[in-house]
């Protein structure tokens, strides 16, 4: 394995590929395969909490329950959600085909899908696609395997998303697709993270849940939850290194935060990337609640699009939360200008510069010492345009 590899093939013990199975009308790559070459096959995963979950989510939840995964197959061009028994059978068939060509158990093959809801996958293209992807694992890709896989899972992403972390004697790599705003289907976030560190499934699960809690769970582009969201962590143990748990946790969180921000950065139709930091909160959960409530206010989001530092819309959103605060103690700064002080007018709003792409909103609850940041986007004409286009 070359040191030139990126993303999920950056750690030792993984091969990956991305090919064109013909699922997308555009003819761009649409099927990715990730193989853990061992010697260990520990794994963890978190899934959408949406109760209307796609067939591959139901399947992969079963696969991960024993803490082992040998491979992941991912397709764009179809979500396989709301597809009933036939959809589940198709996911099962997909996993069995991967298992056959790779010589592993189908019960150790994770499946991810993204694309339109309510349509069956074209299995006559999926199965030959798996053969081609498996062949590419060994014979090589046009680019390196990690990059090829990251490209094949893109839907309306404008750039592929990868991240790496170098620990003390081990590596972590990752790829992601999706954004909060995707047309014409629903946004789906798919993330595969690999490491050559030696970690048990329980350790991987704990680290993954903590990392997603402070990263993907705090990226909220448009408040809409997909039926297919999946984050997978695979460990090959190929480095032979048992990592310091706090260093590994920090590295994993760093990668997840980098990818979460990359999703927000690439959200379709967005003109601003907004960080909403709530501080001096009674609890971290309340800080998240306040930031998320503001992030989901369409009036706030349109104001930022209009470069309008409308702090009244921030306060009116904060006022709908259950967080501890006194209205007269609230302070709000936008890009460093404290436009709201003690619940009323603060510095001159005309001092706020919102011409740039990045916006920082800081909400001081004056009710404690905890804080949290959440990343979101503005609500723009392009968002409406992208998401109102016919899905057919």
């Amino acid at each position: 394995m070359s040191s030139e590899t990126t993303g999920i093939t950056y750690p030792e013990g993984f091969s990956a590929s991305g090919i064109t199975a013909g699922l997308k009308a555009s003819g761009t790559p649409d099927l990715a395969l990730v193989r853990n070459n061992g010697p260990r096959f520990d794994a963890a995963a978190v899934f959408t909490s949406n109760r209307v979950a796609a067939a591959p989510v139901h399947w992969s939840r079963q696969v991960i329950s024993d803490g082992r995964a040998d491979a992941v197959v991912l397709n764009s061009g179809g979500a396989n959600a709301c597809t009933g028994a036939e959809g589940f059978t198709n996911t099962h068939t997909t996993a069995e085909h991967v298992a056959k060509v790779l010589g592993v158990s189908s019960g150790d093959v994770l499946v991810c899908s993204t694309g339109l809801i309510g349509e069956q996958l074209p299995m006559d293209k999926i199965l030959p696609g798996i053969d081609a992807a498996a062949a590419a694992l060994d014979t090589g890709n046009e680019f390196d395997g990690g990059a090829a896989a990251a490209t094949a899972i893109m839907t309306t992403d404008t750039v592929s998303k990868q991240a790496n972390f170098t620990g003390s004697g081990y590596r972590i790599g990752a790829m992601a697709k999706g954004a909060g705003m995707l047309a014409p289907g629903l946004a789906t976030m798919l993330v595969v993270i690999t490491t050559d560190a030696v970690l048990s499934p329980e350790e991987l699960d704990a680290a993954l849940r903590e990392a997603t809690r402070v990263s993907f769970d705090r990226a909220d582009s448009d408040g809409c939850m997909s039926t297919n969201d999946t984050v997978i962590l695979l460990a090959s143990g190929a480095s032979g290194t048992t990592p310091d748990s706090s260093e590994f946790a920090a590295g994993l969180a760093e990668i997840c935060i980098e990818l979460a921000k990359a999703l927000i950065s690439d959200a379709e139709g967005a003109a601003h990337e907004i960080t909403i930091r709530t501080f001096n909160a009674a609890t971290e959960d309340e800080a998240v609640e306040v930031s998320r409530t503001v992030a989901r206010s369409n009036l706030f989001k349109t104001a930022i699009f209009g470069q309008d530092p409308n702090w009244g819309r921030v306060l009116s959103a904060v006022g709908t939360t259950q967080a501890a605060f006194e209205p007269d103690d609230l302070n709000v700064s936008i890009n460093g200008v404290q436009v709201c002080r003690n619940g009323g007018v603060g510095e001159d709003r005309n001092l706020v510069d919102l011409t740039g792409r990045n916006v920082l909103v800081e909400i001081d609850l004056n009710a404690g010492t905890d804080e949290a940041s959440l990343w979101t986007n503005d609500l723009t004409h392009d968002y409406v345009h992208e998401n109102s286009a016919y899905s057919s």
Copy 2:
């Protein structure tokens, strides 16, 4: 009182006026006064649950606590929200001035404001405006007093909103302003309802809470809650009729539903008026939760704008709720076409006609016998435009 009068002056015992105090740059009417001439002065009111409540809300909560109100003064052109101690003093001064000119107690004068947040009201215009409004109560308005008042409380409403109900020996009248989408400030819903029936404050309060629960609480244009929302019910007892309580409740609910729909109908930037009916729910609350969650999905709202019967976005929103249902038992109809059956593809989506302004989405949870409808709007370019305009 002429039988030609409408809205709040339709019942006996009320006079009203609407004048131009000069609060609005547009020079249109901006101050309304409503007087209960008795013989009874029973009253009830409900207010925004937003914890960042405007000064007039704080004031009026105190006024209504004893179940009596003699007058209501309402201004557009300024919300008097997030205005601190000076804002509350201004509300107090407003009530005292009304009390003085009408010869009542300031503690029986309700105050409502709507307009931009974070700016002090120009009291040098408010106080002379009250004098003019009080004079107009007796000397007459260009139109009838109820209509004049309904016009003076408009902000970006395109039409004034009034409703009447004729009971057995008594009348109910009402006016409303606002919509879920208002630019450049935040939407505020102000409603004043009058009746000449004989009812105690407790009876009025119970009837008003039940009526708002099934009307204004189910109008959710864009999910954003105002700092100033107020619904007031005044009873003069002038008819001498003690109404049948179920007839009165039904009449009050009818008026409130009519006005709630009028608010959604006049929501700025909306291209569709959407009714989301959830039925076969385990409880009415769960039906409301499901309808509201769909109503707040930006992906659903943009799809409707694009005339796209995207039932996948309905299901993905339903899936985020806590309501009782099995995903495989969900049915969704859009304008009468059951596009989703048993959680999967149903009738041909191309049969759905979304070219008209009215849209009916029906969600069958198959989990009980309760139901609820909620009214909302689509998310359009005009919404983004209206709400991204500079507030200054």
